[in-house]
């Protein structure tokens, strides 16, 4: 049977959503691009707080809706500094003009990982490979969290394998 390029998880609470984010950050490597897809209230901020916690970021993860990008210093599993670039394209209306905001320089960061909220606002200019996280509400607190390597056979498949090898936060 083919290996599935998708992990489907269920989070029962905001804290569990944070744990899944933290768990994901454990397999992140410099240069990684993670896209975070979900509507308002789906838990994108909560998930990002988990990633930041997993990277040892000490700052609060303020919404980058207004500033477009926030940077935080974290620590990679090997102890080196790893920067978290947290982008939010919510205020953008389309793909035009992403260029001068410097969007492209964040797509393959040389000193950290990039997390993009509202990636659909830049759908036409995204690179071919990324890790896609989808958050879908299943009720008041429960969320379906899907982690997908795009494309299925690409470099991010390895991250999914690494995730599977680690302790599943659900059990």
């Amino acid at each position: 049977m083919d290996r599935q390029p998708v992990l489907v998880l269920t989070s029962e609470s905001p804290e569990q959503t944070r744990e899944i984010g933290s768990w994901l950050s454990g397999v992140a490597r410099v240069g990684d691009l993670v896209l975070l897809h979900g509507d308002l209230g789906a838990g994108k901020t909560t998930f990002t707080q988990g990633i930041a916690r997993g990277l040892g970021v000490e700052d609060y993860v303020q919404s980058p809706t207004f500033t477009l990008v926030n940077e935080h210093d974290g620590t990679a599993p090997d102890g080196t500094t790893l920067r978290l670039y947290h982008l939010d394209l919510y205020r953008l209306a389309g793909e035009a003009d992403l260029e001068s905001f410097g969007f492209e320089q964040y797509l393959a960061p040389v000193d950290g990982i990039t997390l993009v909220e509202w990636p659909e606002r830049a759908a036409a200019v995204l690179p071919e490979e990324y890790l896609l996280v989808r958050l879908v509400p299943l009720g008041a607190n429960a969320r379906q969290i899907t982690i997908e390597a795009v494309p299925p056979e690409g470099m991010y498949e390895e991250r999914l394998d690494a995730l599977r090898e680690r302790q599943d936060p659900e059990g």
């Binding site: 905001p14 897809h37 509507d39 308002l40 209230g41 838990g43 901020t45 909560t46 609060y60 993860v61 303020q62 919404s63 809706t65 207004f66 500033t67 477009l68 205020r91 953008l92 209306a93 389309g94 035009a96 003009d97 992403l98 260029e99 001068s100 905001f101 990636p119 659909e120 759908a123 036409a124 995204l126 896609l132 509400p137 008041a140 607190n141 795009v150």
Partner: protein, 371 residues
């Protein structure tokens, strides 16, 4: 002393002449709303490009309205941050060029500090006489609330700040904008929520208040999820058609509500949840630090529910111990981004010798510190 202020930190291109830190002689704001409306939102690159084309005419208009020539400018002041890098660059470079060519001092101002100083400004009533009010008395506590900021600031004297608290996630104005979108009310969210909430019962729905213990920090992100949960029963069932996709992403379905959905009560309850935490923490800080004045600043300072709630909380908590503590806020034109507040703040900054050098740069992530 005539100070020319320039402000381009986000969406507005603004220039203003203020005399002696308080008397507004002109206040020109070229809003890019028309430009943005065509694109359905704020597009930063358009904002930066808009600043480039607007800045010189806006400066000329500010000088013209004030009735002075360029040579009549004694000091040039500009916002150095925080804000969008591309937008800030336009203002800082124009200000530098003007100051250099006129041989005048340059002053670089923190946008957050400028918002506080909007409370010192006096607008001309009939073109000649300003509204005379005494300046705010120290120590003061200022709540700065806008689409991008939620800051609680203690100011013990000119230039002496302590940042007591800030939002840990979403800004208050952002909370209003996103709440309005969740209720399908439209944009801009703050005014829409306020208007719809007027007919609503703010006690009907119980939304959480993020008190965060004794901290003066704020958190509004969780409110969105709570609002979503309360509104869910009134939402029309989603269309059975598969959602259209943008690249690999299915589009989020816009909220549609039954005609009898209690949107006014939801909006009022949501607004009350945001406003109560802002007002209570500000009043608590005013009491702890013995404030002689409480100030509001930023675009959300125009929210009537916030003004009422803050006045009530300050009266209830502070008055028994401190006596009456006035709650002040700038006129609407000086709450949102403008350059008069930059020129006003620069007068007091210059008095303590805060002149900027020609190497002055932008600081997109600038914070408000200093004692």
């Amino acid at each position: 002393m005539n100070i020319l202020g320039i402000e381009t930190s986000c969406d507005e291109t603004a220039a203003s002449v203020v005399a002696d830190g308080r008397r507004v002689r002109s206040n020109v704001v070229a809003s890019q709303i028309a430009l943005h409306r065509a694109h359905g939102g704020v597009v930063p690159e358009l904002a930066a490009r808009g600043h480039v084309t607007a800045i010189i005419p806006v400066v000329e208009a500010a000088l013209g309205e004030a009735g002075i020539e360029r040579a009549g400018v004694d000091v040039v002041a500009v916002t150095e941050g925080p804000g969008l890098a591309g937008a800030l660059l336009v203002g800082v470079n124009v200000a530098k060029a003007l100051a250099y060519s006129l041989g005048r001092p340059l002053v670089a101002i923190n946008h957050l500090e400028a918002h506080v100083y909007a409370n010192w400004l006096m607008l001309p009533v009939d073109g000649t006489s300003p509204v005379a009010e005494p300046p705010p008395a120290f120590p003061l506590v200022c709540l700065l609330v806008s689409g991008g900021h939620t800051e609680l600031i203690l100011m013990t004297d000119h230039g002496h700040y302590r940042h007591l608290g800030r939002t840990l996630d979403d800004a208050a104005g952002e909370a209003f904008d996103k709440g309005a979108r969740l209720l399908g009310l439209g944009y801009p969210g703050g005014p829409v929520i306020q208007r719809v909430a007027e007919a609503g019962d703010p006690t009907r729905f119980d939304l959480p208040r993020a008190w965060l213990g004794e901290s003066y920090d704020f958190s509004f992100s969780g409110l969105k999820t709570a609002l979503l949960r309360l509104a869910e029963p009134y939402r029309l069932p989603p269309s059975l058609e598969p959602a259209p996709t943008v690249g690999p992403f299915p589009e989020h379905q816009a909220a549609a509500f039954a005609p009898d959905a209690p949107l006014a009560d939801l909006a009022a309850s949501y607004q009350a949840a945001v406003v109560e935490v802002l007002a209570v923490k500000t009043a608590r800080a005013a009491l702890e630090f013995g404030a002689k004045t409480v100030l509001l600043a930023g675009g959300v300072a125009a929210n009537a529910a916030l003004r009422t709630c803050l006045a009530d909380e300050v009266a209830r908590r502070c008055e028994p111990e401190l006596g009456p503590v006035p709650v002040r806020y700038p006129p609407p034109a000086l709450c949102t981004d403008n350059a008069a507040m930059v020129a006003g703040a620069a007068f007091y900054a210059l008095r303590r010798g805060a002149q900027a050098g020609w190497e002055t740069d932008i600081h997109p992530r600038l914070r408000l510190t200093g004692t």
